[in-house]
Symmetry: C2
Subunit: 452 residues, 2 copies
Amino acid sequence: MNDPMSTALLTDHYELTMVQAALRSGAAGRRTVFEVFARHLPGGRRYGVVAGVGRLLDALSSFRFTDDELAFLAEHDVVDAATIDFLAGYRFSGDVYGYREGESYFPGSPIMVVHGTFAESVVLETMILSILNHDSAITSAAARMSHAAGERPLIEMGTRRTHERAAVAAARAAYIGGFATSSNLRAGFLYGVPTRGTSAHAFTLLHDSERQAFQAQIAALGPATTLLIDTYDVAEAVRTAVELAGPELGAVRIDSGDLAQAAVSVRQQLDSLGADKTRIIVTGDLDEYSIAALAAAPVDGYGVGTSLVTGSGVPTAAMVYKMVARADPDGELQPVAKRSVGKPSRGGVKAAFRRIGPDGCALAEIIVPDGPHAAQAAVTVPVNGGDTDPRDTHRPLLAPLVKDGEVVGGESVAAARDRRAASAAELPPEAHHLSRGYAAIPTVFAGPWGSP
Amino acid sequence: MNDPMSTALLTDHYELTMVQAALRSGAAGRRTVFEVFARHLPGGRRYGVVAGVGRLLDALSSFRFTDDELAFLAEHDVVDAATIDFLAGYRFSGDVYGYREGESYFPGSPIMVVHGTFAESVVLETMILSILNHDSAITSAAARMSHAAGERPLIEMGTRRTHERAAVAAARAAYIGGFATSSNLRAGFLYGVPTRGTSAHAFTLLHDSERQAFQAQIAALGPATTLLIDTYDVAEAVRTAVELAGPELGAVRIDSGDLAQAAVSVRQQLDSLGADKTRIIVTGDLDEYSIAALAAAPVDGYGVGTSLVTGSGVPTAAMVYKMVARADPDGELQPVAKRSVGKPSRGGVKAAFRRIGPDGCALAEIIVPDGPHAAQAAVTVPVNGGDTDPRDTHRPLLAPLVKDGEVVGGESVAAARDRRAASAAELPPEAHHLSRGYAAIPTVFAGPWGSP
């Protein structure tokens, strides 16, 4: 399902002034290729996860300027009449290739490649980056939390800690990253993310006693519900909870204090009361580090809020959208690159392959010039000066997403979630270390690009 | 102007299950008072700025469950039929008081107070917190950057570094925080934020030479435009720029390298070419610290992206929404508070005043029990054990925002922007130190609440 609001003004002012100037200079219709890539993995991460692709394809379909929006642009002299005319008829007609949602990426991976005229491609820059940078940051953090949690389910509950619409995207991104459920109802409505929730401290405080609150909740939601036990005294709450719900009590939630210590004593108390099937859910400022630290505690699930929706210290991926080729006056594509100090880019249209060893473990990201022989070229690229192994396989990473302006790469959120798990599983084990480090596999550029 | 999309599902699942259980227990209609406050100022900040109030009032007006949304809730068994009926008729009918947008706040400030039945008030929790936490985090960071920039204008250009809709709110929040302009077109369209922009490196790369690109831009946007001079060689770009635009060249932008050093040499070069009125705009991973460090450099404006939209290390304010009072079985409001370890709250309905000394400098946040005599009580509250000064004034901080469900506190973004500047100006000078520290003024609770 598509969020129907117009997306065309989710765009930086300068994208439109560039269109105006290019329409005037005659360069607006030149064929160009733009590439999305990240110069580095922020925060000492060892891999990143591409997310937001599905949302981006939806947003691209809604990228049309409404009459009200065009009137705004005219009235505020954002651009001239000729540009308004161009925008009124705007419809992206080019091709987009990209890493599929849930795929791992590394520094320099050509995550998305946009072929089209300059004018039709440049106006998409801001929206493409907003969506990919936000969603990839969340899924990349979620993936680390999922690995730390192991088989224990993660519940996303950070909606209140981020922008109200970003929260919906974050819930979707967390689910792709391996979370089991979310508190966010709109993420259920729009994307089919499973939603869960029971009660907050306010529900206990509303009633004249904790006992009455528990009774009310069990009456309404059944004994398999999750009771929140830290409003007053935890031990008394556990006693009351099992007394009222019986051993079928589904779960208890602890939201404060030393969670490891509390889990141990609550587990003992539940077991002694015969509620040995009742699960213990912990919440309260968890991140991948505290989740890992709770591995030995008798915890059955984690609720994660702030750290998830803020990317656990990395609220945005470092992706940029750079022109890598454009047609010369004869119509031939020529590589282009800026030379800005500290921020250079590699010109040229690229193809990308994940090299996988015979044991199924990813070895390298191989980047070669795009073209009919790219796959053959990739096979021969040496990594770290070593020989190539004929048993290695090479998974192509750029899939067609848009063809002649039509979305051809749509897929379900469930498919992206499965891909995320599979792609992470084939990374070398050190990819999942939580400490700061370097990219888990090298990105090898075999082409006429030189070093970045 | 209002973003028209339905807001009712921007809500945590558990808000609705609590309504279901409270409808069943009979407590759903109890009168309650919820309070928004922050236990601390994150990141060692010395004051926070309340933002998002205007967006929240808009979102509250759109908080109605559509038929599609109700069908989703029923189909997925989120809540039972009685609750669906309640939600179908949902319309907030209570009162909301709050700090006005742009006002400074401190730990424990009762930023927003919601009076209504439990059921109608609890379902607003998630949306209220999402909006206030996001926008306040951005405006609080923007305010620090504004102080660091002094008279030099700040340009918000972080859209591509955050969720595409969060970016619109961030542009609005930055403007309230003192930024002059934004790149975000939708923020102009929805909120009247002034938008600006000229060109990116891609525009230079598109043309066969930098000279042709500059010619094209000047032809389309006039010589008063801003030319981006770091695509290839900065000194050559400056020469070309002044040759083509003449001394009327509006500005040049530097986006890479050592910005202070580059600004000095570009200034010298511009002056030597007679372009002594041409301004220098710097961009590229700036935050309040690097802005402050550029104070002595010949810079005329700053573009800020990532650090603004991510709250400069603090992407969310720490606001929570807690029940502080509810009616007892006789209908009398009683204070309530949870006792969770490390996360206690103060029960009781509060009034808040900013005490201002005779020199116009803020001295304290005074919190007293709400009621007809609150203002008189606030005057007598001692701060730090000292005597009160009869010349002190006390500005009431809680204004009526919603009365009987109708918005009564709407105001323009410009009014919020002016308030932000005025409120910041009356804080003691140490409030604006960039180093980590404590709240710039104490929050004094004079009531039956004890310590938190």
